[in-house]
């Protein structure tokens, strides 16, 4: 079981939330990106062994969208890793 911190409600059971997917890379400039970079942006979903940034919707709650970092090895909600996203 995960307790997900909602900015409005505080920590709530994961069952109140709907998974909104991992946070993808920022959209590159289509005029500057190579074809390979563009294909990577469109098709590659972040799937690290370790911290991943995710969105969750507090659907059976206040309705807020929440962005968290979750460690895929432990299921722990962790602080954002240092360095660029």
């Amino acid at each position: 079981m995960m307790l997900i911190p909602c900015p409005f409600c505080g920590k709530r059971n994961e069952s109140e939330f709907i998974f909104g997917g991992p946070v993808g890379a920022d959209r590159p400039d289509p005029n500057a990106a190579s074809d390979a970079e563009w294909v990577e942006y469109l098709t590659v979903v972040p799937n690290p062994l370790g911290p991943v940034q995710e969105r969750w919707w507090h659907a059976r709650g206040c309705g807020e969208w929440v962005t968290i970092w979750r460690d895929t090895r432990t299921h722990d909600i962790v602080r954002a890793p240092d360095g660029p996203k």
Partner: protein, 165 residues
């Protein structure tokens, strides 16, 4: 195992959904509203009308059925300014009361919230889950009140009967 609880299904309750900032909503209908709750997921009450702070810029006004028409006339949902929204939602919800010595035990079956009084005080109100359904949960005299989408009313009544049989 059976529980020492009483399950009551309420008749119609007057509920209005209010969206907008407290300032904007208050500017339209301040005089009939209780003071706006400041802490998230709490409610205030005045003259039998409860104002529940259930989301960012989102409030529910709850009152007895006989107050519904008076509130509707005063809230004027169809004439309200564009920066707020007021919708009568009374007929979208079915309310249950779970009361008695074992009320908290029955709630623990249905709802993932920590309902201890230190975490869920008397003025607490929040959307959560009730048997997996989105539900409005608050306290009432001697126990807890839960409101689910009205089309699930019979099903939830059945779940409660089975859980407490």
């Amino acid at each position: 195992m059976s529980y020492d609880v009483q399950i009551d299904r309420l008749g119609r309750v007057a509920v209005f959904d209010l969206k907008g900032t407290a300032d904007a909503v208050g500017a339209w209908v301040k005089d009939i509203l209780p003071a706006f709750p400041v802490r998230p997921n709490t409610r205030t009450e005045k003259n039998g009308v409860a104002l529940c702070y259930i989301g960012r810029n989102h409030w529910l006004l709850r009152a007895a059925r006989d107050a519904e028409e008076r509130l509707e006339q005063r809230l004027k949902p169809t004439n309200c300014p564009a920066d707020i929204s007021i919708v009568r939602v009374s007929d979208t919800l079915t309310f249950f009361h779970v009361t008695g010595p074992d009320a908290a035990d029955v709630m623990a079956i249905a709802c993932p919230l920590d309902l201890h009084e230190t975490v869920f005080p008397p003025d607490a109100v929040t959307y959560s889950e009730f048997f997996g359904l989105k539900a409005l949960v608050t306290r009432c005299e001697g126990g807890f009140e839960c409101a689910v989408e009205q089309s699930f009313g019979d099903m939830v009544a059945d779940y409660l009967a089975r859980a407490t049989a």
